[in-house]
Symmetry: C2
């Protein structure tokens, strides 16, 4: 049994309060293990009065009371709980009323984040959950919008404006009829306000690079766009919400009365009245920066706070970062299911060795991204055994698709998942992932599945008997020669079944040397 440690992050946002518990095992893997969510809307009315309202304060204190009891009851010590507050509490004149109650009555000292700190934690979440190198991070909450300029994965300029979804809704979309469809002049006024505000960020204007987005608005819009496009989905991590899909969503949302906007699948009821203003803010940022779309991450401020605790505070100017997000995510997932590490690693080693040999001999292009997907499929091919041995290849696919792997696009994830799905038998097919897989993707899937399967055959006895597998192309076929620490009857028998797939993947016959 590995020792497990817990950390709770309490996030007092302008729209919702959340308590999230992270559990870290001794061998480095971590996962979220509990969460309480309450749509408190502490920021309600703030835009007009500059103060937290009586009702919102009452809801906030009741929720904090619940959180505090939860922490005590589940044995989380004060040092294991980190509570932070953002825009609404930061900006209101009378927030001390909430903060002192949290501190004194409930024993939950709250750190009010400055705009820069709030932006920093969002940035930290983004660079540790995507492969963003150069571009921007957008964090849109109920109270504020944060934009961070990123170069070489490092934070540059930081902007924060009170352009949050609750504030923009209250200021622009509630008159004259707060419940009806939006009026064109309302939308125009909102758009103009956003465009004018964003000119303050000179670095943003027509920049190149990508933009990563977080927050409930971004997640809900991405989920709605996935559904409209008929895409299979196990979450929105890594999904790119294109500027054109966003325009279409805005049109649909604007035509509906505010309360009915959750009829659009993917939009949560608690967010129905806020989603339109939030969508228009994002649209404005994409337009200002000339971005084609917003790459969504499910991580957010809370994960930023967690990463700082989990990875250490870093060494300025280098914040705490996974060196390789995709690699770290794959290893985290493999460890979480206690997978036979020497076996998986050896399958990966054999498969990558064959991949490289075939590339050198011109049988495929040797694309480094393909090589990485093959590695991921090898490391994860057996995780489904934790469900059941029967059909474990299908269970592996399920766990890969649902594991929230960071840094991969939905198409890349589909290739990894489907290669694992076909690691035992059958000719790879796109199946329900078909909308994500084009012709080139399917060819890549064939190659990944063929090499994973060959490597798995060579590791059939799970004891690293076969040290090396050499492939030599000649006379229209490819010859497989094994270097092993013993008798190779089992691996040769097993590999002997892969001729058909190998032929389809590489266009050559596979011969197995005695």
């Amino acid at each position: 049994m590995t020792v497990k440690q817990r950390l709770a992050v309490v996030d007092l946002g302008s729209n919702s309060f959340r308590l999230v518990v992270y559990t870290v095992a001794g061998d480095g893997w971590w996962q979220r293990t509990d969460e309480i969510y309450q749509p408190v809307r502490i920021g309600e009315g703030l835009a007009a009065s500059g103060r937290l309202g009586e009702q919102p304060i009452r809801r906030a204190l009741a929720t904090l009371d619940v959180f505090s009891h939860f922490c005590k009851a589940s044995g989380l010590l004060p040092g294991q709980v980190e509570a932070v507050a953002t825009s609404a509490i930061r900006d209101a004149e009378n927030s001390e009323q909430v903060l002192s109650a949290a501190r004194e009555l409930i024993g939950l000292p709250v750190r009010v984040l400055s705009r820069e700190q709030e932006a920093y934690y969002g940035y930290l979440a983004a660079v540790n959950s995507t492969t963003l190198q150069r571009g921007a991070v957008l964090d849109l909450g109920g109270g504020s919008l944060q934009l961070v300029h990123v170069l070489d994965r490092l934070q540059q300029e930081v902007c924060s404006w009170p352009l949050g979804a609750v504030r923009m809704t209250e200021r622009f979309l509630t008159e004259p009829d707060p419940g009806g469809p939006a009026q064109p002049q309302q939308l125009q006024a909102l758009r103009e306000h956003i465009a004018a505000t964003l000119t303050q960020a000179r670095w943003l204007q027509g920049m190149d690079g990508r933009i990563v987005g977080m927050g409930g608005t971004a997640r809900n819009l991405a989920a709605a766009a996935q559904r409209l496009a008929g895409l299979p989905s196990s979450g929105v991590q890594g999904f790119v919400l294109s500027a054109s899909a966003l325009s279409e969503l805005i049109e649909r949302l604007a035509a509906l009365p505010a309360k009915e906007r959750a009829k659009l699948q993917g939009i949560k009821p608690a967010r129905a009245d806020l989603i339109l203003a939030g969508a228009i803010v994002i649209e404005g940022v994409l337009a200002a920066g000339g971005f084609d779309g917003l790459e969504v991450t499910e991580a957010g401020l809370r994960e930023g706070v967690f990463f700082e605790r989990h990875l250490g505070t870093g060494d300025p100017p280098h914040p705490p970062m996974y060196e390789d997000v995709r690699r770290a995510g794959v290893l985290n997932l493999a460890r979480r299911y206690g997978m036979d590490a020497p076996h998986s690693r050896h399958v990966a080693e054999l498969a990558l060795g064959m991949f490289d040999e075939l590339a050198v001999q011109g049988l495929h292009a040797g694309d480094p991204v393909e090589r990485e997907l093959l590695w991921a499929a090898c490391m994860l091919h057996d995780i489904g055994m934790s469900v059941d041995y029967d059909d474990h290849h299908k269970h592996s696919r399920y766990l890969i698709l649902n594991g929230g792997l960071p840094g991969f696009s939905p198409t890349e994830l589909a290739i990894v998942a489907q290669a694992a799905r076909y690691h035992r038998k059958g000719m790879p097919e796109p199946g329900f992932l078909s909308p994500l897989l084009g012709k080139d993707d399917l060819a890549m899937l064939d190659r990944c599945a063929a090499l994973l399967r060959l490597a798995e055959d060579l590791e059939r006895s799970r004891d690293q008997l076969v040290r090396q597998a050499n492939l030599a192309a000649k006379n229209g076929s490819v010859r497989l020669m094994l270097v092993a620490d013993g008798e190779t009857a089992v691996p040769r028998w097993a590999a002997g079944r892969e001729g058909e797939l190998f032929q389809r993947a590489f266009g050559r016959r596979l011969d197995i040397a005695a």
Copy 2:
């Protein structure tokens, strides 16, 4: 880390050879962890000559060689490997050729099971994977058919005839055109032969009770019937293949040329030419015993051998048996995912307590089966957290449906799975399990989900703070009163959200006492 032990069972059947590895953890849970399958057809030609053919022997020895290497390479010691052979090898004049080669060349001593032993292991697999009390166990292999009469879960008379699918195909369905559709006179001759043979089992004639079936023929037919009926499926465990569905399958199969019978989804290509004869044997048994259908189990001879090793040899006349198969299966699944046992057990205790109180007060019928399904849903509701915290209710459903839980019908499993699916939020819906859930099932699902959710709310802090939950019905509402070792703000807050579901499930308003 719990200590794990392994056992390999090698099963030399008349149609296929199989090596299955079982892993048992120190805390008692077990699962299959590896399997090699080869369709050797050692019984090919045996019906005509009484001898194993040259080709089949060659295929058998090559496969045994592979198995032997696999065992050595994966570190399975001789004491951890149990090899058994059945009908074909038992009956052939020249099987010593295979047995001595296995023993001497390959170091794999094979125990040739007598008819009685073969039937016994099938029986053992059936009573440990179903709730069969009274009736019969059918085990149809390539060479022989075993029928065991069961009373009070104990084995009574045993019958074994050479009516296996390979033999019946060769004897009745290969002339004049082995590849074409079956001729009516062929089918009639086969049916008459079976009916005549079965008269030898007097106990079978028009008996009451259930019949449980195992073997590849039964599994394939069940899978085909599920698909024809448009039922959602995660395996055939517990599925009842009705006599009428079997008739329809036989009609469809007989109309197809032998090689095309795998076009029927659910029938495996390696079994295409054998499935028709096998189906007619099963049809004959159902007719002779007056059974409405065959309840299929995925366990078989191999599991029987495993259970004997895992559970001990028993105490005659009581063979090694789980006292309660359903309970053992649920606990096995819960342990496999390392679920927080005190929490799950406490949720179950609270939920069953409320179930009993509401029954006493006449708010539902207090059906003991419903009580058991509620218990199972409580024990398993969180297993999906091993996949990911996000959507863990959905992952729990997936793991429950795919976990191969023994002893439950597909409808019962759907209720357990769907109650777990709705243990956090939302109003229960049948979803893709709709074809399995009638009106009464949905009402049961509502009650199970409502009580599981209330109990989970009361255990929100996972520390057994709430010792007892009392429910008192009066004046059209039900009042919830908590007995707790401390402050109950969190549980009362959480339970406060369940009013709508409680109302739908029990037709009463839920009040929560301060």
